[in-house]
């Protein structure tokens, strides 16, 4: 039952997304790509879309994948799935564990989870880099192609801009424009 699978998959993602933002990118990549719901390129495309719309990434990608896979019912199942775990946890925390934040066990776990997120996002960056720069694999031919060179140049330029705190939407629009220009010029 695809609806159930959507719900359970995104429930899993929602339950383990700590540290916000793109912390669980590798989890999303695995779960979604392995089921053939979205390919690696589409996931990266969607990150850009999510940056340009309101709403957190985890929720947005649940809605998107859900709708691509099974229309509106799919979107509802996936989105509910991703939201419900945190809903339940917050209710429990609000009701029972007012000292949640100071709890030694929580603090201890977080001291392990925060660096883990760094390593995990690092691994996501690695696989994303492969998809962005060498989607068809390494070879002398691809590495001297216009597509490769232009994507490297865009990447370097945008990294500089990102660290200069240029707004993500500006970066996305610039990347799009340069991408179009390179596509037609080279």
């Amino acid at each position: 039952m695809i609806l159930l699978e959507l719900f359970l998959t995104f429930f899993k993602i929602g339950a383990f997304t700590f540290g916000g933002g793109y912390a669980m990118l590798p989890l999303v990549q695995r779960e979604v790509a392995e089921r053939g719901w979205l390919d690696a390129e589409s996931i990266i495309n969607f990150i850009a879309i999510s940056e340009s719309t309101p709403g957190p990434f985890a929720v947005n990608i649940a809605t998107y994948v859900g709708s691509q896979v099974a229309g509106i019912p799919g979107a509802i199942c996936a989105t509910s799935g991703v939201v419900i775990p945190s809903f339940i946890v917050i209710l429990l925390v609000a009701k029972f564990f007012m000292q949640f934040r100071e709890n030694r066990i929580v603090k201890g776990c977080m001291s392990g989870l925060k660096p883990a997120v760094v390593g995990l996002i690092g691994s996501a960056v690695l696989s994303m880099a492969l998809t962005v720069f060498v989607p068809t694999g390494f070879s002398m031919e691809t590495m001297s192609s216009a597509a490769f060179i232009s994507s490297v140049c865009i990447f370097i330029l945008m990294t500089v801009l990102a660290f200069k705190k240029v707004h993500p939407i500006v970066i996305i629009i610039l990347s799009a424009l340069i991408g179009i220009a390179c596509g037609y010029l080279f």
């Binding site: 916000g20 989890l27 719309t53 939201v83 917050i90 490297v152 990447f155 993500p168 991408g179």
Partner: protein, 186 residues
């Protein structure tokens, strides 16, 4: 009874407004939540907002959703939490559904494909910037660096199940901090 209905409606509409107008994800929503929920409606205090932000760091789920659930619960119990959460999620849900259908129409246009190949390079830059931010906010020290390296290698090269990596790192962090605090007491 009518009073309760009014509160539910107010919560729903307020969080829908917040959910519709906050771009850039996560923390960007907090000032707006503070303005609406604390200043304007006086449903919670500023101290509560600080508390939920701190709590949300250690719970699964995006911070905006967590904050909505928390404020809703504090204001009007379970149903308050429910309408607030649905409210904050609904705008992005609808927008992404729209985008999902539109994307299918535009995907085969050449310019769009060029744009997205540029965009993907830009997204990589954004994620690397996010990675850097997470690194800066992460605990440092021998255990932390070990966890960063281990989680990276386990996920990127050994392709280990991400959930197992997460649990492993949480346990490691917890153990390390308990050992450290045990040592301090002596």
């Amino acid at each position: 009874m009518k009073d309760k209905m009014l509160i539910y409606l107010q919560l729903f509409l307020t969080f829908m407004k917040i959910g519709a107008f906050t771009f850039g994800g996560g923390y960007a929503m907090i000032p707006l939540i503070q303005k609406e929920a604390s200043e304007k409606h006086k449903w919670v205090t500023d101290a509560d907002i600080l508390e939920i932000v701190a709590i949300a760091e250690s719970t699964p789920g995006p911070i905006a959703i967590n904050a909505a659930t928390f404020v809703g619960y504090r204001t009007a119990g379970f149903w308050g939490a429910l309408v607030s959460t649905v409210g904050i999620v609904l705008p992005s849900f609808l927008i992404i559904l729209l985008i999902s259908y539109v994307m299918q129409e535009f995907q085969h246009i050449e310019a769009v494909r060029y744009a997205f190949s540029g965009i993907r390079a830009g997204v990589l830059a954004l994620i690397i910037k996010a990675l850097w931010s997470m690194y800066r906010k992460s605990p440092k020290g021998a255990v932390a660096y070990f966890i960063m390296g281990a989680s990276f290698v386990l996920a990127a090269f050994l392709k280990m199940n991400i959930l197992i990596v997460i649990v492993f790192c949480a346990v490691l962090g917890l153990t390390a901090s308990l050992i450290a605090s045990g040592r301090d007491k002596k």
